[in-house]
Assembly symmetry: C2
Homo-oligomer: 352 residues x 2
């Protein structure tokens, strides 16, 4: 008897639900109200990654410096703290760094202690992240060091100009200056470009610009969780807000930084929102993001767009990871796997 009642209730409800679903959205459906939730660190990450994933939200994620001058001390304080981690990284990963200048642009040459024969003539270009306002100097190096160390490639990392020194398109111009120089130092078929966040967007923008200017393209690129849409389109800007402990919110410090760099330039320009660029003819691309990443959507949208343009494009998504968690701790096994994946991808696509 109870079974029959249950049966009626469930049966009728399920049928009703299917009908409701199909007529649901003849107008714009109302927003979904998602209740407050308590989110523990997931069980299936390493202890090192658990620390990163379980860290509280970035303090003062909602600061809104409005000028390059206001950003400068923020950038310097963050950079000083990050730069202190660099010597340990260099030692653990057996990598050396030297400052240089390439056609007037500040850069670093990042070299692994041993370079395997297949990588001897290969050269990678790195563009760091930091919302176009953070990580000057050595603070921009961790990702370049990880790539050099785990992949045993030689890397040129661009220490591009940022506010208050200069605004758009200065960082883009500096990156292109280095790119042009690199295409003369190495066969472009033996090169790749990579970077995370603003550096991921710059990576994509560099290819768009190289296409436009008729320059050689790299043999592969690795944009990590690219700031591919600074106009705030993208579902995870909402769904992962207050969950991503790095960027935290689409209206936070990173948006403020990008706007100061843009300096009034149209944010829909593919140079600043490369998801809107024409990706036909792009080289093979490997994208990295995480399940909690505020830019998860902007990464998967670039992936889809590349595939629609017929480009070989590979996506890796880290369990539980917020924005760019994979460039925090070189001792986390998740970090190693991300960079080994990228290195393998480069190895398959770069000429020897």
């Amino acid at each position: 008897m109870r079974t029959i009642r249950l049966a009626r209730r469930f049966g009728a409800t399920l049928a009703g639900l299917v009908a409701a679903t199909s007529v649901a959205a003849q107008g714009a459906p109302p927003p979904l109200q998602v209740p407050e939730k308590s989110v523990p660190v997931p069980a299936d990450v390493s202890p090192q990654m658990a620390k990163i994933v379980g860290a509280p939200l970035r303090q003062n994620w909602n600061i809104q410096p409005k000028t390059g001058e206001e950003w400068k001390p923020v950038a310097e304080a963050g950079a000083a703290a990050l730069a202190r981690q660099v010597p340990g990284m260099l030692e653990r990963l057996k990598v050396k760094v030297e400052r240089t200048t390439i056609d007037g642009v500040r850069a670093f040459i990042v070299t692994p202690e041993t370079i395997p024969p297949e990588n001897r003539d290969r050269l990678l270009v790195h563009v760091h992240g930091g919302c176009y306002v953070l990580n000057p100097g050595e603070a921009g190096l961790p990702e370049a060091i990880f790539m050099a160390g785990f992949g045993r490639f030689k890397v040129v990392s661009v220490d591009y100009r940022m506010p208050p020194e200069a605004t758009y398109p200065a960082a883009h111009d500096d990156a292109m200056t280095v790119w042009k120089a690199v295409t003369k130092m190495a066969d472009p078929k033996k090169t790749a470009i990579f970077g995370t966040s603003a550096g991921g967007a710059l990576t994509l923008a560099m290819v768009l610009r190289a296409k436009r200017e008729g320059l050689p393209l790299p043999a592969a690129i690795a944009p990590g969780t690219p700031m591919s849409d600074t106009t705030k389109v993208g579902d995870s800007f909402v769904t992962n807000a207050m969950l991503d402990n790095v960027l935290v919110s689409p209206d936070g410090f990173c948006d403020a930084g990008a706007k100061v760099y843009a300096n009034g330039h149209d944010l829909r320009d593919p140079m600043l929102s490369p998801v809107y660029g024409d990706m036909h003819g792009f080289p093979p691309t490997i994208l990295t993001t995480g399940t909690r990443d505020l830019l998860l959507s902007n990464t998967v949208r670039v992936h889809r767009k590349l595939r629609d343009a017929g480009v070989e494009a590979f996506l890796q998504v880290g369990e539980g990871q917020s924005h760019a968690h994979y460039i925090r701790d070189d001792t986390a096994p998740e970090t190693r796997k991300v960079f080994e994946e990228i290195a393998g991808f480069f190895d398959r696509h770069l000429a020897r």
Copy 2:
């Protein structure tokens, strides 16, 4: 003056934050409290997908039928509603379906009106989803029809036994019976297995069992958002709860269905939680999920595990999509792209 004060405040705070982050988690970090939020349909999806994404949470997502008898009317009501959509799909996609029995197992042969020459000798096996208790008969066919229609492959879809007719390992056994028969109908190098949700888990479990039993493996597989972990490990079980409008919660109807099918069998057995299986030697695999999918983590964990085992594995993630949204509406461009991606992957990996 104001700039200097701002500078001091931001600078000090940023430095403090980096220090705080690095000492944060020496014990288990506390859960993150994510506030309530209002989530609109994202701007960057098609109108068809917007309807699916914007639908309210599945009604009675928290029903908990405890026996196969209690599930039967639920399954029948849902199946009747879904089956009504099948004729339209067949017509739009120019596909035919016939019921058959393969070595005693109920199945459907799903055939596109025209099969291109390269697919003439190829044969795909489909295992439907539905938490091991839903989508009997024609209700299990939409994904098979989409694959046949968009990919122009011939498909055998297994209408496996479910509670109350039978419990674990009946569905697995039926799928293996069909798999064995298919390896005699076609060269296994010209075959693939695919399925979504429980069907994604079954796809993975079939390969694990074929390995164990020394049977031929397919040339490729396409597990869509697989129920790869029925033990509820996986970050998106929490982060996407009450956001995924299909599964809604790790403690909802789908968990109840899987438990009724498992009938007391250990949920950690890789047959029911294939993420814990040994994936060495797996064929090339294409995985599909969405940014709001409750099983996003269980999909990306399988992807990582496959890559760690040296398997070619490709991941696609749909913007804004909840669990299995890509098998709802064949007229949505997102649906077409998912199936064309899978078809292209099969075409590259199946012998001709």
